[in-house]
């Protein structure tokens, strides 16, 4: 199979423009989310359902904190806190777990206009741009070969990499422009953007990448993860976890630890 000679003009007018445009759209997306984040105002808790939601969330946070940091409390305090949460009749967790399971429609928080606006914003700055770029690339730049991948691939990749080019015997290493789009998309223009812009865009970037991957795998993304249809189970799980905690007050071990770290320090 002899090498194909690709015209210079393809490089000037296709390859480089795709890269430059995708990079710019990436940066624009970053700035857009920064702008939208700045304009987000604090959410006011307006409805009673939201208050109940917040209370549940706080209860779970409290029990998780207790389970995590129990070593900081002396025995009596820990027992008191645990009894407050887990007592058979009066503990908060037992009371909460006896509440009926929430209506699944309501617990989706799609009814909440603020959360809906949030979801729309995330979708806008994520999926819409992706779809837009895909359409742009496949409309303008389809039907010809744009480059070559440096590694050998099997025939199975032919449909993915050579979309629009119908030459049967063409080496699978020759790729069409839509595959450059995919390479750039998954390759992580975000990381280069992070290098250039510092760590401000850190949390946002991880979020959309994760969200994109999750949506591609077909799982629906829920904006609020704690919304389960049966909060009773959650509380029961928390309760069993707390009851199983073996509590030791760390102060009792502290003199040994101090000795150990002093030794380490002196040895250096």
């Amino acid at each position: 199979m002899s090498d194909i000679l690709i015209d210079d003009r393809i490089r000037d007018w296709v390859f480089l423009p795709i890269i430059i445009v995708m990079f710019m759209i990436q940066m624009f997306r970053g700035l857009l989310t920064k702008y939208m984040d700045n304009r987000k105002t604090a959410q006011k808790v307006t409805s009673k359902a939201q208050v109940a939601e917040m209370i549940d969330k706080n209860i779970t946070q409290q029990s998780q904190r207790l389970a995590r940091l129990h070593g900081l409390l002396p025995d009596q305090s820990f027992k008191m806190k645990r009894a407050y949460l887990c007592d058979h009749e009066q503990g908060i967790l037992t009371k909460a777990s006896q509440k009926p399971a929430k209506d699944p429609m309501q617990s989706m928080s799609m009814m909440n206009p603020v959360a809906m606006a949030d979801m729309l914003k995330q979708n806008l700055s994520g999926i819409v741009f992706m779809a837009l770029q895909y359409q742009w690339v496949s409309y303008f730049f389809s039907g010809f070969v744009i480059g070559k991948v440096p590694f050998p691939l099997t025939q199975k990749f032919r449909t993915m990499l050579q979309r629009g080019v119908d030459v049967q015997n063409l080496d699978v290493r020759y790729i069409s422009s839509i595959s450059i789009y995919f390479v750039l998309l998954f390759g992580g223009l975000q990381k280069i953007q992070q290098l250039m812009f510092g760590d401000d865009t850190d949390e946002f970037v991880d979020d959309t990448q994760m969200q994109m991957q999750m949506q591609m795998m077909g799982m629906p993304t829920m904006p609020s993860f704690g919304q389960q249809n049966d909060p009773g189970k959650l509380f029961i799980a928390e309760r069993t976890r707390l009851e199983g905690v073996k509590h030791t007050f760390e102060l009792n071990k502290s003199s040994d630890k101090a000795l150990k770290s002093l030794k380490r320090f002196l040895i250096q």
């Binding site: 690709i6 210079d8 393809i10 490089r11 390859f15 890269i19 940091l69 070593g71 900081l72 744009i146 480059g147 070559k148 991948v149 440096p150 590694f151 050998p152 450059i180 390479v183 750039l184 998954f186 390759g187 992580g188 990381k191 280069i192 992070q194 290098l195 760590d199 760390e250 630890k257 150990k260 770290s261």
Partner: protein, 109 residues
């Protein structure tokens, strides 16, 4: 890089310094894979040799990190596996992207 005072204790929360160190390490690895991609692309490497270059440059970066830390990994990171070997897969896609781009720019188009 700053030195985190990590104590061998399940209650102890690692300080902000560990986070700063890992951010620096991530940046370093991104630079490393960028350079590896450019080298592999310009030299026209093919197939598995290219991936070998990526692994080689990754290990060189880890070695330079070790020299900079004077080989005392525990003072700067949680474990030597963490600092040297852990992120090799995450930057592989970045390397592939840069490799494809530069290979095409220099050798083919």
């Amino acid at each position: 890089m700053e030195e985190p005072k990590i104590e061998l204790d399940d209650l102890e929360v690692n300080q902000e310094r560990l986070k700063q160190n890992t951010i620096q390490l991530k940046n370093l690895r991104v630079y490393g894979s960028l350079n590896a991609g450019i080298i592999a692309g310009i030299l026209g490497m093919d197939g598995w040799i290219g991936i070998g270059i990526y692994v080689a440059i990754f290990l060189i970066v880890s070695a330079c990190l070790a020299i900079k830390m004077n080989f005392k990994v525990k003072e700067y990171f949680k474990s030597s596996y963490d600092a040297y070997y852990s992120g090799i897969g995450t930057d592989l896609l970045l390397f592939l992207m840069i490799w494809v781009i530069f290979h095409n720019l220099v050798n083919i188009l």
